[in-house]
Each structure stands twice: as C-alpha cells, then as structure tokens.
C-alpha cells in the first residue's frame, strides 16, 4: 500500500477510533446515569394500563411527557452498515433505542415527580421523526416521546 492510499483511509480510521472510544465511554456513562436515576425514581409506580386502579383515592390527574433524542456514533453506524449486508441482530442500535426510551421515561417521571405524583398510568412510547432530514443525510438517531397520566393520591 502506498502512502497516498494510506492517507485516504486515515480520516475514516480516525473517526472509527473516535467513535469507538468516545462513543463507548459516553454510552457507559449515560447508561450508568440512567440506572442511577431509575433507582431514585423507584417509588413512582409506572403502568401502561388504561384504567387507573383505586379511583376513589385519586386527588389529581395530569398528562406528563418526556422526550429524548439519542444519536449513534461513527463506529456503531459503520459496523451496523456492514451488518446490513450479512443480516442478523444489530445490538449497537438495540442499546441506542433502549437508551432513548429509558431517558424519555425518566424525564416523564421527572415531570410526574414535579407535580407530586405517586403513579403514572397508561404510559405510551411514540417515535416521531422531527429531525427527518438528518436520516436522509445518513445520520442515525432515535427520537422518543413518552407520555402518560400522572396520578396524585389523597393522603
């Protein structure tokens, strides 16, 4: 391989290393943060049931929402691009989508906590595509909107 072709692949290698190291570090940090906050939110009940149990003790109900947009890193996008050819699971994207959902749910719980809610009922996840043009440009990201009905109980 001559020096010219070596130089032409160098930027890709740099981006792959950057994506792998920084992307992985950021993902680990994000998941650790999600797990910590999930434990802190453990006292708020979450269900996707449409009917609120024990309606007699309900003091207040309120729609709460949470949003998160999580991007893939260069390494994941590259590897998953190769995976598209041979087929099979894409664990890199699975973890990205779950990070988006868990983060959105945590923000929904933040909103529920802010109004002093004890539970959130009928939780739904929607994946809008507001940043649609990004995907067209080859960018990979997941947008999640979580919503549900926060319930404040009478003491």
């Amino acid at each position: 391989m001559d020096i010219q072709s070596l130089l032409s692949v160098a930027p890709v290698v740099v981006l792959l290393v950057l994506g792998y190291t920084v992307g992985r570090y950021r993902e680990h940090r994000h998941i650790a943060s999600i797990e910590r906050r999930e434990r802190a939110m453990g006292d708020i009940g979450v269900a996707n049931l449409r009917t609120i149990a024990d309606p007699d003790s309900v003091a207040q109900t309120l729609l709460v929402c949470g949003e998160a947009v999580i991007a893939s890193d260069y390494f994941k996008t590259f590897i998953s691009g190769l995976k598209k050819i041979i087929g099979g699971g894409m664990p890199a994207y699975e973890s990205m989508v779950m990070r988006g959902r868990r983060e959105a749910l945590l923000r929904l719980l933040d909103a529920a906590r802010a109004v002093g809610a004890h539970e959130v009922w009928n939780v739904r996840f929607e994946m809008p595509n507001i940043g649609g043009i990004q995907q067209q440009a080859g960018a990979v990201m997941v947008e999640v909107l979580a919503y549900g009905t926060a319930v404040v109980r009478r003491k």
Binding site: T61, L62, L145
Partner: protein, 104 residues
C-alpha cells in the same frame, strides 16, 4: 382544563362528549442544531437541540388541541394520543388528538 390519556378521569363524571379535538405541528430542521447533530453522529449521545425541538413540537401540538377543546366549551380532554406523520424527507408532523368532554 384536565388533560389525561386515560379514558376516564377518576373522581369526575363525564357529562357530555364534545367531540374529537386535534392539534399538529410540522417542524423543519434548523441549521445551528444540525451542526451539533452532525458532531454527535461521530461520538454518539444525546442531541439536546433535537430533544428541545421535540419538546417544543409536543407543546405546540398539545396547545393547538387544547385551543380547540376550549372553543368547544370543554373542560377536559381524555384519551390523548400522539402520533407522527412523515410529510417529506425534510419535515415531519407531530399530531396530538383526544376527546373533548365536559366533566363535573
């Protein structure tokens, strides 16, 4: 105005159904946010600008839905749902809908 995504509101009786109310918003990209977004596509992680965009879009869709409910003389909206429509590759719609009701 009480807004929930359950079919009933505990502690309240639905006296009257005023009909379907809906609100939407179609958002396009924003150049400044795109620069941050393309950087995030290298190192991964949350794109805060896009999360804000999504929050604004959700608020606006809800606001428009609530304005309709107010016009119908409702004091609550039940069974609220969000859904998305792809308009073109450059823009997407966030759509909120629910049933406007009068409760007591």
């Amino acid at each position: 105005m009480i807004v929930v995504n359950t079919e009933t509101i505990p502690g309240h009786v639905i006296k009257e159904v005023r009909g379907l109310v809906q609100g939407n918003t179609v958002r396009a990209k924003h150049a400044g946010r795109d620069i941050a977004a393309s950087f995030k596509n290298l190192v991964g992680g949350e794109i805060k600008g896009y999360t804000e965009l999504l929050t604004e879009a959700r608020r606006q869709a809800l606001e428009r839905m609530l304005a309709q409910a107010q016009q119908l003389g409702a004091n609550a909206v039940v069974n609220v749902r969000f859904t998305t429509g792809a308009i073109t590759t450059g823009a997407a719609e966030l759509y909120a809908y629910g049933t406007a009701v009068v409760i007591e």
